[in-house]
């Protein structure tokens, strides 16, 4: 197979989905953030965001921590080192493919 086509075929499908790509890119630039921040920045609805986060958690890319801010429940999200590595690799492969 042509190496450029191989790069496209090798793109990480978990990250390649636009919604998840937004989430991973936003989390890549910070230590951690909460659910509300991602909701505000991505413009997704709660259900869609939750479903994307579950898929990222299943893949081991995102760590989800349920906690409280005062008496208000808060969901904190952090990109794992596997998630960081996968995103860096995804960017490199996409750049090469383009």
């Amino acid at each position: 197979m042509n190496p450029q086509l191989r790069n496209i075929a090798d793109l990480d499908r978990v990250i390649h989905e636009p919604g998840r790509l937004m989430i991973v890119a936003l989390l890549f630039a910070v230590e951690r953030s909460d659910f509300l921040y991602l909701l505000h920045e991505t413009g997704m609805n709660k259900g869609t965001l939750s479903s994307h986060l579950s898929k990222l958690e299943e893949a081991g890319y995102v760590e989800i921590e349920k906690t409280y801010r005062g008496k208000v429940p808060q969901t904190l999200l952090r990109l794992t080192s596997a998630g960081r590595k996968a995103f860096e690799q995804y960017r490199r492969k996409l750049k090469e493919a383009l």
Binding site: V30, E31, S33, H40, R69, V72, P73, L94
Partner: protein
């Protein structure tokens, strides 16, 4: 790929979504201008010239900025548009390295210039332009109307540098200054920091007002 690059830059821009970054810088500009003005208008043996006052003054200013920003973020921003924790590289190491890279050559250059009795009247507008450039890099790139603020800072800095000496001597007194610093240089610094402080405070205040107007805390648990 550009969109991904923009997304990677979003969290940094998010810090000033409520204008807190500019309010902090505005407060610092005004506090520095006030201290410089007090030093430039009071006798050399006045309290404002003493090192034992300078350290607590500077510490208080930093504490107000740090805890003030933190309080606004905690009680206003996080409940409305979400919490972000930045990496230590973003909040500590990067500012420290950039600060050192800028401060060391500037301080060394200034020390050499003062010891060699160079005439600093000509390059005195440089500080204002440097502050305007840092404003453009830090804030104006993210919000279109802030280019007007950057223009005010740039034009203001040039206008201050062009002010006649008799106007400048109303701001600083020769008798209060160390002999290495002329009235025009001292007055330019005071007016530049004052301009930067007022402009950033107003711009930050407008951003904060717009933020409060266009956002509201979710009525219940978000997830």
């Amino acid at each position: 790929m550009d969109s991904v690059g923009n997304l990677l830059d979003r969290p940094r821009q998010y810090y000033n979504i409520d204008g807190v970054g500019e309010l902090g810088l505005g407060f610092m500009g005004l506090a520095v201008a006030l201290l410089q003005w007090l030093q430039a208008t009071t006798p050399k043996d006045a309290i404002w010239h003493q090192m034992y006052l300078f350290i607590p003054y500077w510490s208080c200013m930093c504490l107000v900025i740090h805890y003030g920003s933190k309080a606004i973020k905690k009680h206003v921003t996080y409940p409305r548009t979400g919490f972000v924790e930045y990496s230590k590289w973003e909040t500590r190491w990067r500012p420290a390295i950039v600060g050192a890279v800028v401060a060391i050559p500037v301080t060394a250059g200034l020390a050499i210039a003062l010891r060699s009795h160079w005439n600093l009247s000509a390059p005195r507008s440089f500080l204002g332009l440097l502050l305007a450039a840092s404003y453009i890099y830090g804030f104006a790139r993210t919000v279109r109307w802030k280019w007007a603020v950057a223009a005010i800072l740039t034009i203001g800095s040039i206008a201050i540098a062009l002010l006649p000496t008799d106007v400048l001597s109303a701001v600083a007194r020769d008798a209060s200054l160390p002999r290495e610093i002329s009235v025009s240089v001292a007055a330019t610094l005071i007016l530049t920091f004052f301009l930067y402080g007022v402009t950033c405070s107003m711009s930050g205040g407008i951003s904060f007002w717009l933020y409060l107007r266009h956002t509201q805390a979710p009525s219940q648990e978000v997830e």
